[in-house]
């Protein structure tokens, strides 16, 4: 059998096997979708920043039409004015409004429900904003210094919080597709004896390797595009992709994540243990790589740790290809080359090892 025919046959077999394997389909395609739906909903409907869809309540112990109008005009939130404190408190507790502002003589109280990591600092910020508007209105003074807020982006495009999140979820989908598929592939095939059977056939190890990794790469592309499609349909994503660069990043990042999976398989021997370690590392990486929370808010030690995990760089590359990060072309190429060379090297070396020792 010619090499190309051999490749075609094995590729087809791997593709069918992968699609039939529910676990692989789950980790590659559905797993990132779960994150997209959960965090997309959280980011899409809940805004604790100063976007206008944050709804707050205001209760004035001594009603003043001027103050009410000043608050409605100047606060960067939707303002509902309440006639009594109890109904405002109830609205806060029921989640109908994010915060309640009770303004009495010389005192402003901000009522809110605790339990969200960012909320304390955000509520403190809100307190300052409200205080400023109230004092300005009551004392009837104008600002000596005015501040104009200018949003910046790459090439004039300003991204949203959700776009940022989406870039992170795309990175997770590549991590999940690359890392778990390889653990699954070599781990399961070794355990079930498939590798030992293949090693006694005339199949060239490089053909085996190429066809198996190509199937996983295709699965990764499918996963990424499903995530993008769902995010556009469900969450009205606004990302603009530089498609050629994006396709390159998906390729190199998935290869790098495969290498990462191989590394775990080498360390942990048993595929189940490697899968467990992979899940733990993935959870850890998600929190320290700036996917769900801004990296700059992490303690210094955590920021340093993040440099050792590939998810940070994948996120950066995705943001670059979607106009949300500005890195030099040299850096972009360097990271991609390291990803590709490192990933291919690890996969090649290990697959040889797996095929020769079985």
């Amino acid at each position: 059998m010619s090499k190309s025919k051999q490749f075609k046959t094995i590729f087809k077999a791997f593709a069918i096997e992968s699609l039939r394997n529910k676990l692989e389909v789950f980790f590659t395609i559905f797993f990132p979708l779960i994150f997209l739906v959960i965090f997309g909903a959280l980011y899409g409907g809940n805004t604790f920043d100063d976007t206008p869809d944050m709804r707050i309540g205001v209760y004035l112990t001594e009603y003043s039409a001027e103050l009410e109008s000043a608050l409605k005009e100047n606060l960067p939130y939707y303002v509902n004015v309440y006639d009594d404190l109890d109904s405002m408190n109830k609205a806060v507790k029921d989640g109908d409004i994010t915060a309640g502002v009770a303004i009495s003589e010389k005192k402003i109280s901000i009522l809110y429900v605790e339990g969200d990591m960012q909320k304390n600092s955000e509520m403190s910020m809100m307190g300052n904003i409200v205080e400023n508007v109230v004092e300005k209105s009551v004392n009837n003074f104008t600002d000596v210094i005015e501040v104009t807020e200018i949003p910046e982006g790459i090439d004039g495009k300003v991204a949203s919080d959700f776009d940022y999140l989406l870039s992170g979820i795309i990175s997770i989908s590549m991590l999940s597709a690359g890392m778990f598929s390889v653990i699954n592939l070599f781990g399961r095939y070794k355990k079930t004896g498939v590798l030992s059977r293949i090693s006694v056939t005339p199949i060239n190890p490089s053909t085996f390797l190429l066809s198996s990794t190509l199937v996983r790469l295709l699965m990764s592309y499918i996963s990424v595009f499903i995530v993008i499609l769902v995010s556009f349909v469900m969450f009205n994503a606004q990302l603009e992709f530089q498609w050629i660069l994006f396709i390159i990043v998906v390729l190199t990042s998935t290869i790098a994540m495969m290498g990462y999976g191989i590394l775990l398989l080498l360390i942990f021997k048993k595929p189940e243990s490697a899968e467990t370690a992979g899940s733990i590392l993935m959870t850890f990486m998600m929190f320290i790589s700036g996917i769900f929370f801004p990296e700059n808010m992490l303690p210094e030690a955590m920021k340093i740790v993040a440099y050792f995990f590939p998810l940070k760089y994948t996120g950066l590359l995705i943001r670059y290809t979607t106009g949300m990060a500005d890195i030099s072309l040299g850096t972009f190429i360097l990271i991609n080359v390291i990803f590709a060379v490192g990933g291919i090297g690890l996969v090649a070396l290990t697959s040889k090892k797996f095929l020769s020792t079985t």
Partner: protein, 387 residues
């Protein structure tokens, strides 16, 4: 009794020989607690620095020097800002785009003159001094940094007015969290409760059904049932063993919290709190039992367990209060038992994130508990593999 003890010990030993069981159910919750408290310790306390790229297009003169004083007061050792000066706004904005700065403050030429005339001649025709704050859209931290800089400038305006107006009416702002009703709120304790419930989720959605299904698929059950051990006896012992793993996990989390993290809230040891923990474990284990009968294949179960794990964890309000969710998804949170179980635990340490009577919190988990047990026993023969 002797038979029970010997079989129970065998099952325990079998579990503890498996690294996965111990790691996921017993050690992982503590690992996650360490990660969360270290990551969000600084986060919730607002203990972070803001990198500000400053572009001064003039040397401050006259009353404009007030800006210099304020910026010195809030930067370096004194405040949250780390200031780097740039000659050109384009260069500073380029650094903002490269994430080398969090925000850029541009003080244009003529600012000092405007500040001086506005202060000296009230309502002068010159107008207010206009500063520009550039931030990176979509980057949460850059947006927070922008708000900090804006608030500092608002503070300057207020301070100027206060010095000029002897009758200035000053307001004091107070944060009044309704969830803790005046009691101190600790994120460490808050996450500790989440971790405790998360360990029960792991034991229930992973260990419980997987062990049952694996034993059925491998034919271990059949071998066991060929001995005098009855299916009910086997299941009771298995259930008790799984519950013990859950209890052990709780003990490890308590030990870590008490001896290493220094969390010694006496309310965590009250009989009511322990009762809620046991009730939570019972509810979650029953769900695990139901999963074992509803999912036929082990490979399918791995996927279902992962989905259940993330749904119970994230949508159950373990990490974010459920009222943070938009209504499109909030209704799911109200169906999940974990939403109420975590709320019960929080109530017992003085937190309220869900408006409902304490007794009312039992309803949904009880429905899950009873429903799961009924479904399990209807299909008992199938999951035990002897129908």
């Amino acid at each position: 009794m002797k038979k029970f003890f010997s079989f129970f010990t065998g099952l325990i030993k079998n579990d503890f020989r498996d690294f996965q069981t111990i790691f996921w159910a017993v050690i992982f919750p503590v690992v996650l607690f360490i990660i969360f408290s270290s990551i969000f310790g600084g986060f919730s306390e607002g203990d972070f620095k803001v990198r500000v790229g400053l572009v001064k297009e003039e040397e401050f003169t006259g009353l404009g020097a007030i800006l210099d004083t304020v910026l010195t007061q809030v930067s370096g050792e004194n405040g949250p800002l780390i200031i780097t000066e740039y000659d050109d706004v384009d260069e500073a904005v380029a650094q903002l785009r490269r994430d080398k700065q969090d925000v850029v403050l541009q003080i244009p030429d003529g600012t000092s003159a405007k500040i001086t005339s506005e202060i000296m001649i009230k309502n002068s025709q010159v107008g207010a001094a206009n500063l520009n704050v550039y931030y990176f859209g979509g980057n949460q931290f850059s947006e927070i940094s922008r708000d900090i800089v804006v608030q500092i400038m608002n503070g300057v305006n207020t301070e100027i007015e206060k010095r000029q107006n002897n009758d200035f009416q000053d307001y004091a702002t107070q944060l009044d969290p309704v969830s803790s009703e005046g009691q101190s709120f600790s994120y460490d304790v808050y996450y500790l409760l989440s971790v405790l419930l998360m360990s029960y989720i792991i034991v229930s959605v992973f260990n419980m059904p997987m062990g049952l299904l694996e034993a059925k698929e491998k034919g271990t059950n059949k071998k066991i049932f060929s001995t005098p051990i009855s299916p009910l006896f086997y299941f009771s012992t298995y259930l008790l063993k799984t519950a013990l793993v859950g209890v052990l996990s709780t003990a490890v989390v308590y030990l870590y919290a008490g001896f290493i993290s220094g969390i010694n809230d006496p309310r965590l040891y009250s009989p009511q709190f322990i009762g809620v923990l046991l009730f939570s474990l019972a509810v979650m284990l029953s769900i695990g039992m139901m999963m074992a009968v509803l999912v036929k294949k082990f490979t399918t179960l791995i996927g279902v367990s992962q989905i259940a794990n993330y749904l119970f964890m994230f949508l159950g309000g373990l990490w974010f209060p459920v009222i943070s969710f938009p209504w499109a998804i909030r209704w799911i949170t109200y169906v999940l038992p974990t939403t109420y179980l975590i709320e019960m635990m929080r109530r017992l340490i003085g937190l309220t994130t869900l408006q409902m009577d304490f007794s009312g919190l039992f309803l949904v988990p009880l429905i899950w508990l009873i429903g799961s047990i009924v479904i399990f026993f209807i299909k008992f023969k199938r999951v035990m593999g002897y129908e």
